[in-house]
């Protein structure tokens, strides 16, 4: 025979068990990315934060794909 005190104590344990559970859901806000912030591709030793220089370099390489300009 279980004593009423023990019964109440066990009951309390069962009831409040969920209170110790940590939330497992990812904080997702609709329309907002949850990804870590990324570095800008021009913030490095080569370009030293100069976006214009980076764009010029990429543009020159992209132009190089045009063989009409490259050959003629």
């Amino acid at each position: 025979m279980i004593s009423p005190k023990l019964f109440l104590a066990l009951g309390a344990v069962v009831v409040v068990t969920a209170c110790g559970e940590k939330p497992q859901a990812v904080a997702v806000k609709p329309g907002q990315s949850a990804a870590k912030p990324d570095d800008k591709p021009y913030q490095n030793e080569q370009f030293k934060g100069d976006r214009a220089a980076w764009e010029r370099t990429l543009r020159a390489r992209a132009d190089n794909q045009n063989e009409y300009k490259r050959v003629n």
Binding site: Q32, D38, W54, R59, Q65
Partner: protein, 213 residues
């Protein structure tokens, strides 16, 4: 700069798979994962066979981004769609949403357990310190931070696959069309970037087969 784009000129692609090899080699992509692949349509039909190099097109309104339950995708200032592998749960929703079949899933265990999604990064790495070891291991080499374009396009021998700023690519493609006198099929361009061609390209007709006498 407008935004980064890929263009595949089906009139020029010779199905050499140089782009696939370049990508695999550049990023040390594991077996079973193909960030880029070459698809051939109308295979064997004379005059109608076309090959296209396909990977993530970095869509303007990326459907993968819309369906991701953990919002791990983001678009950079230059229009490159990237994702955070630390958040990805490998659910595969992005694979079903993508019209190009770009998201790839490495096998992470027995019974076909999917690992974290892997896809073309436009050689721009991911949300780790640029050109760091962590970035290279998770996402591959960051060529954009080195002032270089994606390896697949730079390796393309016929320059069928073009990568870079959309305005520059448009100029290159326009010149090609003017010189050869006809418009090619810019496959996937409208789907990815939402730009409708002024007139839809005429369907490719197979050449008349020669009958043996």
């Amino acid at each position: 700069m407008a935004r980064m784009k890929f263009i595949c000129d089906a009139e020029r692609c010779i199905e050499c798979n140089g782009c696939v090899t370049a990508c695999k080699n550049e990023h040390d992509v594991p077996w079973g994962v193909n960030r880029r692949r070459v698809v051939t349509l109308n295979d064997g039909i004379v005059g109608a066979e076309r090959s296209i190099s396909v990977a993530c097109m970095h869509c303007s309104d990326a459907p993968c981004k819309a369906v991701c339950p953990v919002n791990c995708f983001y678009t950079t200032d230059d229009g490159v769609v990237l994702h955070d592998k630390d958040l990805c749960i490998g659910c595969g929703y992005c694979f079903y949403a993508c019209p190009f079949g770009a998201p790839q899933f490495p096998q992470a265990g027995a019974f076909g357990l999917r690992g974290k999604m892997d896809k073309c990064t436009f050689c721009a790495g991911g949300p780790e310190k640029d050109t760091s070891k962590a970035e290279t291991e998770k996402y591959g080499r960051n060529r954009l931070a080195e002032g270089k374009l994606p390896a697949c396009a730079e390796m393309c021998s016929t320059k069928a696959l073009l990568a870079g700023d959309g305005d520059v690519l448009s100029d290159i493609y326009r010149e090609r069309v003017m010189r050869r006198g006809r418009g090619g099929d810019l496959w996937g361009h409208a789907t990815a970037y939402g730009v409708k061609a002024s007139s839809s390209p005429a369907p490719v007709q197979p050449a008349p087969t020669q009958q043996k006498s």
